[in-house]
Amino acid sequence: MTAIKVESASRRSSPGGRDQGRKGPAIGRRLPGGRFLVGLPPYLWLGLFFALPFLIVLKISLAETQIGIPPYKPLLDWAQAGVLELRLNLGNYRTLFSDDLYVIAYLNSLKIAAVSTVLCLLVGYPMAYGIARSSDRHRNALLMLVVLPFWTSFLIRVYAWMGILKTEGLLNAFLLWIGVILQPLQILETDLAVYIGIVYSYLPFMVLPLYATLEKMDRSLLEAAADLGCRPFRAFLSVTLPLSIPGMVAGSMLVFIPAVGEFVIPDLLGGPDTLMIAKILWSEFFDNRDWPVASAIAVAMLVALVAPIMIFQHFQRRATE
C-alpha cells in the first residue's frame, strides 16, 4: 500500500513520466520533497562560501585602490542625482601586463610547474612501473608506502628539505665528505630546491594514476610482441609507453595544476629570485595591502589553469566511461 503511494508521488514529480521505468536512482526518484532537503545544505554552503567569494574577488579586481578600510573603492556608487554609477576599472589588469615583475613571475610559475612535472614523471614512471610489475604479495605494501608520506604533514615534509639542502646542510656535508665537491653548494634558495620540493611533495599524485593505467594493461600484448621477435626495450617503447599515456596525462595534470599556484614550497625553499605568482599575490595582499591587484592576480592565475583543468577532466571522463 505504502509502496503504491510512493510510486504515484514520484509520477507527479516527473512531468511527462520520462523517468518512469528507468532502473537507477531509487531514492531520488521517489523523494520529491526530501530530494530538495537533501540537496539544499551542500548547495547553499558551496554557493555562499565557494561561488560567492569568487564573484567578490572578481569585483574587487575591477575596483580602484584607495587608502582606507576596505582598501578599495566601491564599484557601485550613488552619484549625486540619485543615479547609480558603475565604475569598472581595468587598471589592475593593465598593471599586471605592463609591469615586468608580474609577467615574469607568471611565466616563471608556468616554467617551474612544467619542469617539475617532467621531473616528477621521470622519477614516478619507473616507480609506478616497478610496483605494477611486482608480485601480488608486495604490491599493496609498496603502494601504501607511496601514499603514506601524503598523510603526514605537507609543511613538515617541505621543512625536512631545508635541513638537507642548506649550505651547511646534510647534503653538502655528505658531498664534501665523499669528496665530490670542495666548496659547499648553494642549493637552498635556488630554483633547483623548488624543483626538488615540488617533485617530492607531489610524487604520490604522479605515481598513483600511472600505476592504475599500467596495472590495467593487458600483459598478452607484451607476450605477442615478444613472440613476434620484439626485444623487451623495444616492446616497452612501442607497446607499454603509448598505452600508459592516459595515466601520464592524469598524473602530469595533478602535479602541474597545484604546482602553478604553489606558495609554501617556493617561500620556504626558493630564494628572493624565485618569482612565483602565488608569492607575488601573498606579498601584494599582506605586505602592500593592495587588494585589487592581489585579486587581479588571482583571476589571472585561474585563467592560466583553465586549460590544464579541462585537459585533465577530458581524460578523466574518458577513463571512467
Binding site: M1, T2, A3, V6, D19, A26, I27, G28, R30, G39, P41, P42, Y43, W45, L46, G47, F49, F50, A51, L52, P53, F54, I56, V57, V123, G124, P126, G130, S134, P149, W151, T152, S153, L155, R157, Y159, A160, W161, M162, G163, I164, K166, E168, G169, L170, A173, Y200, L203, I257, V264, D267, L268, A278, L281, A294, S295, A298, M301, L305, Q313
Partner: protein
C-alpha cells in the same frame, strides 16, 4: 636488474628526508646539522612551549569540527550527485564540487577572506577573524574531498538493496539510514580521515582567514620555519609524524575487516 634499483632509489627519496628529520630531532646540538650527541632535550623544550601546545589544541578542535561537518555535507552532496539524476543547476553544483579539488589554496584563501570581510560589513557576522572563520573555510575546501570518496562508494553500491527496501514500504529517509549508510560507512570513515588530515595540515588558507588569538599549529610552524631550521621544530615534526603513522595503522586495522561486506 635496474628496475628494483630505481624502485629502491624512489623509496629512499621519499623516506630519507623524514628519517633524517627524526634522527636530528634527538640531536643535542643547537646547530641542527652538527651532531652533538643523543638527547631528548628538545622534546622537553617542546612540552613547555605554551604557544605550540595551545596551537596544537586549536588545530585539533578545528580539524575534528571540520571533518565532522564536511563528512555530513560531503555525503549529502555525494548522494545528490549519484542518486539524483536531473535537477535544476546540476552543472553548477558538480562544478562547485570539482573546483575546490584543483583550486590553488592561495586563491581559495584570498576569496574566503574577502567574503568574510564583505559579510562583516553587510550583516555584521562573522565579527572579525577567529576559529569560526577558519572552520568555515576548512569545511568548504574539505567537503569536496569527502564527496569524491563517498561518491565512488555509492556508485559501486548495489542499488537493488535500496529498491527492495523501498518496495517493502520503508520510507526513503529510513532506507538511507538503515540500508545505505551502513553500506557506505567505510567511505564515510575514510572521508572523515581525509578531511581531518587536510584541515590539520592546512597553512595557506588558515593564514588568510585567521585572526588574532586563533593561531593553528601549521601557522606557528610556518612562521618559525620561515626564519630557518630549528631543533624544536624537528622534535615537533617527529611527534606529528609518529602520531600520524600510528593513526594510519589504527585506521587501516579498523577499516579493513569492514571492507569485505
Amino acid at each position: 636488474m635496474i628496475l628494483p634499483l630505481l624502485l629502491a632509489l624512489g623509496y629512499a627519496f621519499l623516506y630519507l628526508p623524514i628519517v633524517l628529520l627524526v634522527i636530528y630531532s634527538f640531536n643535542a646540538s643547537r646547530l641542527v646539522t652538527v651532531w652533538g650527541g643523543l638527547s631528548t632535550k628538545w622534546y622537553g623544550v617542546l612540552v613547555q612551549d605554551a604557544k605550540i601546545l595551545d596551537a596544537a589544541w586549536l588545530s585539533l578542535k578545528v580539524a575534528i569540527i571540520t571533518a565532522s561537518a564536511a563528512t555530513v555535507l560531503g555525503t549529502l552532496a555525494a548522494v545528490v550527485l549519484v542518486r539524483f539524476r536531473r535537477f535544476p543547476g546540476r552543472t553548477l553544483f558538480s562544478g562547485m564540487i570539482a573546483a575546490p579539488l584543483v583550486m590553488p589554496e592561495i586563491i581559495t584563501g584570498l576569496a574566503m577572506l574577502l567574503l568574510f570581510i564583505a559579510m562583516e560589513q553587510a550583516i555584521g557576522w562573522p565579527a572579525g577573524r577567529s576559529m569560526t572563520t577558519i572552520v568555515i573555510a576548512h569545511i568548504t575546501f574539505c567537503l569536496s574531498f569527502v564527496t569524491v570518496v563517498v561518491q565512488s562508494r555509492l556508485v559501486q553500491m548495489d542499488i537493488s538493496l535500496e529498491e527492495a527496501a523501498l518496495d517493502l514500504g520503508a520510507r526513503p529517509a529510513k532506507v538511507f539510514f538503515v540500508i545505505t549508510l551502513p553500506l557506505i560507512a567505510p567511505a564515510l570513515a575514510a572521508g572523515w580521515l581525509l578531511a581531518f588530515t587536510l584541515s590539520i595540515d592546512d597553512v595557506v588558507i588558515s593564514a588568510f582567514v585567521t585572526g588574532p588569538g586563533a593561531t593553528t599549529l601549521p601557522i606557528v610552524i610556518f612562521s618559525k620555519v620561515r626564519l630557518g631550521v630549528s631543533p624544536e621544530i624537528n622534535a615537533l615534526a617527529t611527534v606529528v609524524i609518529v602520531v600520524v603513522s600510528l593513526a594510519i595503522v589504527a585506521a587501516g586495522r579498523f577499516l579493513r575487516p569492514r571492507r569485505q561486506d
